[in-house]
Amino acid sequence: MYLGRVIGRVVATRRIAGLAGEKLLIVLPLDETGEGVMESVVACDVVDSGLGDVVHVCDGREATYALRERFVPVDATIVGHVEEFAHDGSPAVDAAAAARRNKRRRNAGNGK
């Protein structure tokens, strides 16, 4: 499990049946300083994330346990929105800004 920032989305209309309806986002894994540390990954999303959000990603076999269908070829799922990440007492990731963006988006009621 790791922290990441949503940097994009993926649209794939033709996909296997078990993935029907799952939202796909591109996530850049982060370290404690907020820097990207690995290649970006494509992750399913179960908490309605959007561009720029700092998120908590579950990877590996367990990633599918958050989805409607458990036997699907998925190796990363966004399972939480990070509002606060305290690193040695100071917020290293600008998650508060992401949370405000989230709130604005939800208040605007414009869906995805």
């Binding site: 499990m1 790791y2 908490v47 367990e62 958050a66």
Partner: protein
């Protein structure tokens, strides 16, 4: 299991229900001598009430964590111990002197 250092706490108000009531920690894997390991930072559920600065035992891959959190939870990493001492070949590396 890995040796790790708790470098942060993570708060996720919107999350999958499996994480309700769980505390999340950011853990940086360490070599036994305390140097950062060539590894990424992990997020893990806390089962031992650890805090920032603690050396901990990090269970980092999958199926063994299911024994703690249940069969169908999307949870892969857990902090399962707070380390008091690390010794390699008879030499105590932690706590340092």
């Amino acid at each position: 299991m890995k040796l790790g250092l708790v470098v942060g706490t993570v708060v996720t108000p919107v999350q999958h229900p499996a994480y309700d009531g769980q505390r999340l920690l950011a853990v940086r894997p360490l070599d036994p001598d305390g140097a950062p390991a060539q590894d990424r930072m992990f997020v893990a559920v806390d089962r031992v009430d650890a805090g920032i600065g603690d050396r901990v035992l990090l269970m980092a891959e999958g199926s063994s964590v299911r024994a703690l959190v249940g069969e169908s939870a999307p949870i892969r990493c857990a902090v399962v111990g707070v380390i008091d001492e690390i010794a390699v070949e008879g030499r105590v590396l932690y706590p340092g002197g």
